[in-house]
Symmetry: C2
Subunit: 192 residues, 2 copies
């Protein structure tokens, strides 16, 4: 039996990256769980941001932002950047994180996050109290310590990304691999 | 040191729900990793779908779809629904999953997935070879076995959601709780 829980914005799992931007000497960083991929051509991020967010103002003024994926162990930083406004404070300093230059955009990367995306703002859609922010992914960065054996991709076990769980509002990590994609479902083709 | 990996659509972690729709006696289901929350007011899903996908046609014709969150153990079904087209076959039958009526929309829920969202199509944006599909969440359903103690939310440990890892293309699960959100970062406020 299924129980109806109402119209909840719950999806499992959710990421919980730090999103950063800068404009005219001001910089901002905040935590976004409502983010995913919005297209593959070009590679694009889609994220829902409350319209009053301070960093959103910087994103819209500069036309650029970064998405910085944290690892297990960085949950206090991630949580802090989600519950405190940067309107009157420098959250980089307070959280002990380092803004570092990207290679394409002027928005700062968060040095301590092991995986980072540089994005150029390509669209904003008003969605009630939120804005759906679209950004083309121009470059990705990975700490050398999290690279796979070939050095061309990410070893997710080494990345150990932090996961957000909505509803119960908690952080979790990832287990070891359960199965290979584009593989474990192939035997079911025999039923066609 | 960080290494640049190019403009990749990689975010960690990703969900991997089954998305289903029906129209005029035809039904379809496929797997979507590029999905997240697009707004909170109203609660809205945003997902990137390749424009040629058969189920996208059913979503656009019917104006409705469901998002069905699978658990660890269902990775073969999830994988199969991602790699096979439903244009000439009934994937529900082939995958051994059950289309079951929702309470609001006529799109089928996937009975075997323990958490489900019913959505009404509210927008489609062309994004290169993809379309960004927006859907208002009208209802959520949870198997009674995955409810929390209060019976009003989801116990994510019982749900045990399947996770998709891009790049290395693998499925993983979630570990136990690392920390409580809106809590673990509070001590950092002392630095302000």
């Amino acid at each position: 039996m299924k129980k109806q829980l109402g119209a909840k914005p719950w999806l499992y799992p959710m990421p919980t990256p730090l999103v950063a931007a800068a404009h005219a000497g001001e910089r901002g960083v905040f935590t976004v769980a409502w983010v995913g991929i919005g297209s593959g051509t070009p590679a694009t991020v889609a994220m829902a941001v409350r319209a009053t967010r301070n960093t959103l103002r910087l994103i819209e003024k500069s036309g650029e932002f970064t998405v910085n994926v944290p690892c297990v162990g960085q949950e206090a930083i991630v949580d802090f950047c989600g519950i405190v406004s940067g309107r009157d404070t420098d959250k980089f300093a307070a959280a002990g994180i380092t803004p570092t230059p990207g290679t394409v955009v002027s928005a700062p990367l968060v040095e301590e996050c092991p995986f980072n995306l540089e994005c150029r703002l390509t669209g904003v859609h008003d969605m009630g109290e939120y804005r759906l922010v679209l950004g083309e992914i121009l470059e990705t960065h990975a700490d050398e310590e999290i690279l796979d054996e070939a050095g061309t991709g990410v070893d997710v076990g080494k990345l150990d990304p932090l996961v957000y769980v909505p509803g119960s509002r908690e952080y979790r990590g990832l287990t070891a691999k359960v199965a290979d994609a584009y593989s474990v479902g192939v035997p079911l083709k025999g039923r066609l």
